[in-house]
């Protein structure tokens, strides 16, 4: 167990900057996720901590000690890669035992057995000891690979996209299983992924990286409900958040939001207060597809008339894209929604859920009730007996 600190770390490959003056601190025992698109610098950051890459600038500290000049093998860091890299000719037991039999960490066989039994119970792999890796399912292989890393009780546990090569459906199960055994890790963990569901599910905190820099640092709920800018807002949530051109103006003491799609409404007091501190009055309104209502029958107050541009069933829902003047708005509809292309449809935005971004800066300004919605406070706690409280 140890905290990890990176101070002003820069890593260049030839002329490309992989990470750029990056500073972050991971607390002791925290499950920390590095999240971002391909090329953001996630894996490079991980490798600098592991010691397999050397930064040109900056300090890497593990447990308060500067490790820049310490060999990877002496950092007590364990790493799981995307391909699990199990020894194909060894049994599951021997695979897990291998780090404890290495010259560096040599232990006696009875101690090894004890350590493996403990880990295997936690990972649900105690019945697989005699199998070879090719006799395991993907999920079992992953558990063995993780078990092998945990068995030597590393100070730091690094995971580089361990689910990335699984097919989309298996990923859901594997992610849940990973979450289930998280308590067993009991060590500082850094996990790299480009899948927002993995990041949200697993992380105590997330660092969103782009072009080698930290764009935002915070909890999953902060990323989803109060993203720092449009880039982060687009990365979290499926379908991607809608962004609509708008402006605000003050009239008769009211702060009004006006859009190019025929919608004008009054901002809530907390939103109005934050908007009035802004230099420019041009905004982007961010609204998620599940906060837009639709109807094929006539409109009424607050309803906007548009046409169906696309209607895509995806199983448990339909993603309907509505053409509203110059804008296209994605709406999450029930899975039996049947709309013909170009037919008329009315939509209504739940304006209380709008995120406000500056049109020039693309930075987050405010949303209604922001403190409350970005914590678990807006969720009801389930009762301990039989479901709902």
């Amino acid at each position: 167990m140890a905290s990890i600190e990176m101070i002003g770390v820069t890593k260049r490959y030839e002329s490309t900057v992989a990470i750029d003056d990056l500073s972050l601190r991971v607390e002791d025992n925290e499950f920390f996720v590095l999240f971002g698109p391909a090329g953001a610098g996630k894996s490079t950051t991980l490798k600098c901590i592991a010691g397999v890459e050397f930064p040109q600038k900056g300090l890497v500290k593990i447990g308060g000690t500067i490790v820049n000049l310490i060999e990877p093998s002496n950092r007590n860091v364990s790493m799981v890669f995307e391909n699990y890299a199990l020894y194909p000719h060894m049994s599951v037991y021997d695979n897990i035992a291998s780090p404890l039999r290495s010259r560096l960490h040599r232990k006696s066989e009875p101690d090894i057995k004890k350590a493996i039994d403990k880990i295997a119970t936690l990972m649900h792999i105690e019945s697989l000891y005699d199998r070879k890796p090719n006799q395991l399912s993907n999920g079992q292989r992953q558990r063995v690979a993780i078990g092998r890393c945990l068995v030597r009780e590393p100070n730091v546990f690094l995971m580089d996209e361990p689910l990335a090569h699984l097919d989309a459906k298996l990923k859901h199960t594997m992610r849940a299983e990973l979450k289930e055994m998280q308590d067993a890790f009991n060590t500082t963990t850094i996990y790299v992924t480009h899948d927002y569901l993995e990041a949200m599910s697993l992380a105590d905190r997330i660092a969103v990286l782009d072009h080698g820099r930290v764009v935002q640092l915070g909890t999953a709920l902060q990323m989803y409900y109060t993203p720092g800018n449009e880039f982060v807002a687009k990365l979290f949530g499926e379908p991607e958040i809608n962004l609509i051109d708008a402006q605000f103006y003050v009239e008769g003491g009211k702060t009004l939001i006006s859009t190019g799609i025929g919608l004008t409404y009054e901002a809530e007091p907390d939103v109005a207060a934050a908007l009035q501190t802004q230099e420019h009055n041009r905004l982007h309104l961010g609204i998620r597809g599940n906060n837009v209502a639709f109807s094929f029958q006539g409109g009424g107050e607050g309803w906007l008339r548009g046409t169906v541009f696309a209607n895509e069933p995806i199983g448990n829902s339909v993603i309907m894209t509505v053409q509203l003047g110059p804008e296209q708005i994605r709406v999450v509809a029930p899975n039996d929604t049947n709309a013909a292309l170009d037919q008329t449809v009315y939509v209504r935005l739940a304006t209380a859920n709008v995120l406000y971004f500056g049109a020039d800066t693309r930075r987050y300004i405010v949303r209604h009730n922001q403190e409350q919605v970005s914590s678990v406070a807006h969720l009801r706690r389930a009762g301990r007996e039989g479901g709902e409280a």
């Binding site: 859901h172 299983e177 995806i314 199983g315 678990v376 009801r380 389930a382």
Partner: protein, 378 residues
């Protein structure tokens, strides 16, 4: 424009056209019909025979047995060029020295269509696929998405009776893929060309096709609308293949209790009532595979026949929340949009939505249906 009919089509890759007894057919007794103007998706994992099927329709593979008809004409023995088919593959295969316009015009010029008519045809098709601004460019200056647009435009510019698309989106990144999906769908809406798309991506098939044919190991498993294959799967394979997050599929043992039939599970104390509409087809100790989607599992403290079970996993994913419980070796997962959160170890009782609970034969995987359609109890 034409309808496409496949009648008992077989394909074997053995030499001399003779099929050895123990080798499986690449395509095994495949029959389906694609109506005039319809958009059909052929969906399945790699090696299921979907591309082979497409290549037989196109005339790039010999048909071992059976007939393929396009608009009442048996095409088995026609050369590919005489089948009036437009083809677009995953690889764009554009002619690099030619401009986009000349690429589009190539097939028409080969057929000696007058230049004026060629120009007219291209001007009609180019805007549909947003390539009208690219006509003077060479392929190497185009992005992957643009190349695929040109490729598809080239396939439809000669007004084929049938358009065949083989994994046209699988080389493209997420954003571009969605964009092109829109455009293919809208293009089809405009020209109403009978279209077959082959894909391994169930979301792609669902969002594009009017009907989906799902194949596995050379055999057609089910054909139907996206909603019907999702809601009413014919067997375990379709149930597991369609839908994300995937359907929970668990081996279960039926037990008769005082209150009615219940699902029970090996190495688990979990008990959940079976919807009463199945009563007539069940017996005590029967082994089945239970199939229920995460959205159709409900936490219900009042479910009298259910036993309580601890929450193993809780995930807050923003748009929705997921709860997982351990059932022996397996994880049973449910999805909710309710604003409620659980912690590991919380005790819950579960119930399945009656009409959305599926039973499959434990050995064959075939769906077990209730004899009568009953009105849901809730």
């Amino acid at each position: 424009m034409a309808q496409l009919v496949l009648k008992n089509v077989f394909k074997s890759y053995d030499n001399n056209g003779k099929h050895k007894q123990n080798t499986p057919y690449a395509v095994n007794d495949l029959s389906f019909r694609c109506e005039d103007g319809e958009f059909v998706g052929i969906l399945g994992p790699s090696g299921c025979g979907k591309s082979t099927t497409l290549r037989m329709i196109a005339g790039l593979e010999k048909i071992t047995a059976g007939d393929i008809l396009i608009g009442d004409v048996r095409i088995n023995d026609l050369l590919p060029k005489d089948r009036n088919i437009g083809l677009a593959f995953e690889d764009y295969a554009l002619y690099p020295p030619l401009t986009v316009f000349d690429n589009l015009a190539f097939n028409l010029r080969a057929r000696k269509v007058p230049e004026a008519a060629i120009k007219e045809a291209i001007q009609r098709i180019a805007p549909l696929l947003k390539v009208d601004d690219l006509l003077h460019m060479k392929p190497q200056a185009l992005s992957g998405g643009q190349k695929q647009r040109v490729n598809i435009a080239r396939a439809i510019v000669r007004k084929p009776g049938l358009l065949l698309l083989d994994e046209p989106l699988s080389h493209l990144d997420g954003k571009m893929r969605q964009q092109l999906r829109f455009e293919i769908k809208r293009m089809h809406h405009e020209i109403k060309c009978t279209t077959i798309i082959v894909t391994h991506d169930q979301l792609e098939a669902m969002s594009l096709a009017d009907r989906i044919a799902i194949m596995d190991m050379g055999v057609l498993q089910q054909i139907g609308t996206p909603l019907s294959v999702y809601d009413d799967p014919a067997n375990v394979f379709v149930a597991g293949f369609i839908g994300e997050p995937p359907m929970n599929l668990l081996p279960a043992i039926i037990q008769k209790t005082a209150g009615g039939y219940c699902f029970t599970f090996q190495n688990s104390t979990l008990r959940i009532p079976v919807p009463t509409r199945y009563d007539e087809v069940l017996h005590n100790d029967m082994r089945v595979t239970l199939g229920v989607r995460p959205v159709d599992v409900v936490i219900d403290p009042d479910s009298e026949l259910s036993t309580a079970i601890p929450v193993a996993v809780f995930e807050n994913l923003g748009d929705e929340r997921r709860v997982g419980v351990r059932v022996g070796e397996n994880l049973l997962s449910l999805t909710t949009t309710d604003a409620i959160y659980y912690e590991r170890g919380d005790i819950v009782k579960l119930r399945f939505q009656s009409e959305k609970t599926h039973l499959f034969d434990a050995t064959t995987g075939v769906r077990i249906r209730s004899r009568h359609i009953t009105v849901p109890r809730f």
